[in-house]
Subunit: 236 residues, 4 copies
Amino acid sequence: MTAATDPVKLSKQEVGKAAAALVQSGSIVGLGTGSTTAYAIEFIGDRLKSGELKDIVGVPTSFQAEVLAKQYGIPLTTLDAIDHIDIAIDGADEVDPQKNLIKGGGAAHTREKVVDYLASRFIVVVDGGKLVDRLGSVFPVPVEVIPMAVTPVTLALKKLGGKPELRMGVKKAGPVITDQGNMVIDVKFDTIDDPENIEKILNNIPGVLENGIFVNCADVVLVGEVKDGQPVVREL
Amino acid sequence: MTAATDPVKLSKQEVGKAAAALVQSGSIVGLGTGSTTAYAIEFIGDRLKSGELKDIVGVPTSFQAEVLAKQYGIPLTTLDAIDHIDIAIDGADEVDPQKNLIKGGGAAHTREKVVDYLASRFIVVVDGGKLVDRLGSVFPVPVEVIPMAVTPVTLALKKLGGKPELRMGVKKAGPVITDQGNMVIDVKFDTIDDPENIEKILNNIPGVLENGIFVNCADVVLVGEVKDGQPVVREL
Amino acid sequence: MTAATDPVKLSKQEVGKAAAALVQSGSIVGLGTGSTTAYAIEFIGDRLKSGELKDIVGVPTSFQAEVLAKQYGIPLTTLDAIDHIDIAIDGADEVDPQKNLIKGGGAAHTREKVVDYLASRFIVVVDGGKLVDRLGSVFPVPVEVIPMAVTPVTLALKKLGGKPELRMGVKKAGPVITDQGNMVIDVKFDTIDDPENIEKILNNIPGVLENGIFVNCADVVLVGEVKDGQPVVREL
Amino acid sequence: MTAATDPVKLSKQEVGKAAAALVQSGSIVGLGTGSTTAYAIEFIGDRLKSGELKDIVGVPTSFQAEVLAKQYGIPLTTLDAIDHIDIAIDGADEVDPQKNLIKGGGAAHTREKVVDYLASRFIVVVDGGKLVDRLGSVFPVPVEVIPMAVTPVTLALKKLGGKPELRMGVKKAGPVITDQGNMVIDVKFDTIDDPENIEKILNNIPGVLENGIFVNCADVVLVGEVKDGQPVVREL
């Protein structure tokens, strides 16, 4: 692996390395999605290769994670073959001071939620730009919806005070389709005062599979930043 | 339509007729699934044909409802084309005294939930055998789950005190697959003390799409019974 | 509708208008996808509004076509409700002199194929840049594949001499997912000498749903071009 | 494993054992679906446990195969992780003298086709009742179809001279849904004179994923029969 010289990239690498260092031999490891998590997967692979780490098995949250894990030599399993996950490493689109998250920019939040909530320890890796005082400040909440329910769910989201927008594809005509065959409504709220409550309310709208709010899930948040031109990692 | 002579069948017909009588001209009508609802669809068709009813458009909750509606001449629309439903008619597997329901014996409860919750008035049609003192007495709760999450959801349902069982197919090898491409876990609870709460808890398990508990949804429950060899309809 | 002043846009409008003019009252019309087809849908709507056209019902090939048809007031139906299509209008990514097509840049070619092959008359609308001497000169052939078969189908495509590439998403992590929940492999062949044969060979690879080669399907190809700064429409 | 005493069951066991005996150490093994194949999976597990067989990895064609393989201790992989299959063992609904097959009674024929066609050696295990002089004598051909295309494909199958019937569910309302989220049309032909041709024609109907005719695929057919009250296995 070539060392990056761009400080932002360097700080992502450092966060990935810090997260990879938390994985212990004999663990079942949830492998998340995104550019910072990709470095974590790479470093787990390095530790396996060097013999520092042994008996690891990964549970990918996405196609991307699966491809990277294979590339870096991490053996994989599926959720059918295990009854727990020891540690999961994943990114986020927004993190508030209580370690609540918004995820789903990659439309993979449903599988990520299944894996991350199952983990005894969930490590979030982000760059400093993802930290917000209040959830929903910048990023809309992605809501995965079965196709036949897009219109009634859109109406329900408006009634809740949100501004819903169906996510459209770029390399396909029409809406983005998730790995589960569903659609994604990105809904912007002015403020999200009670994320725990809104997470449940959204999931109870008929036709909604999962939404991108993750509450009481993250155990550790590792933040990569650049200070005085140098990459630093701090724990939130 | 030939008159049935079997009293049970007669009572189903009478309930279907009573529900069909509640539909008013100019309505958008949710059309449910099941043998009693099938009679309601037939009688709505009769009323349309006779001219007693006008300007009806139906929203089917299932393939079965769609086929029957076409057979009996009810024009159909989809949820994309409307912003409300005036009245919905649907069956149930269990009904408690507070009009809470368990549905999903036909694995169609997700689409039914989308349609039934959208309706200003939701009419439930059942025979007397579906009435229970407490929800879950006889029938397990069907939970629709994305395939990759079947094992973790099964574990979560056991932790909640349930006895989960993956529903297996008869005319296909392996599990029943829903119209959305998901699987169904039927979970038996000893008692369901707080259906409103358990409905939400189930929906918040990552990987769960919808469950078969319907709380605060039914407005009218019409019960078909046989008294002294005669079919009678009463409102719960 | 505002008249465009950009000659390329003007020529697309003119082609769309020419195609819309071929639709006769009382027809079932297949409505395709893409920027030129969008003009055809708009002009069909104009003709309906003016009363020049009557009793039209549209069958959309995609979400985009459905949204546009609603916007321009074209009543819609589904394939379940009809037994033929009188005329279909759709775009293409490549057209050869025998009116063979490559479609699927929008990953919608499976639904398009179902609709377009059902039509008694299939009108293709393209700009001059889509004309090629030989199919596959510029554009790869999109092949829709079920997710579990991506690797064996990729191997099979290589054995056929193609260069297959899994289409990746932009607004979602990982591969593009089609409206049917499948993936798309774009396969570039050096030359496609016998499109009719290769269309069948591709469809017979286990795990392939449909490919983007359309042979013996187009009846009329309308080409929009700019000559001396003026938009012109010619039939191929 | 308890020895069966019912001669039919005994003969299924003997066929399963004969197929399992063909598996060599170090092989990638396709694991099929059905009651006879289940015995083969069990005997492969027995051979692994006894140490007679080593370094086997299985590729399941269905949920049933996956569950059985785990139960009998066969390590599993997925098609993404391999580039060939050494041997596959699977059942069939009909076998003709040229070793052509009809499969799909369990609606699993698409995944079975992907796996079985990939295998260097495909072993079919059946009881004598599955042998026919001519394909289609008893069993209809299952055709997997995307839901939006059910009506046009039904029309196309009638034009080909078939009697198509949509397969309906038992433990779900409406049609059987496959593991891929599609529907199955069972089409009965009076005679199937040229299975190789009809297999291709069916796959080229727009909206068809795969059909249950397997031509030029089976290498060995093992038939279990009862002769003089004794189970015997013969090769076709």
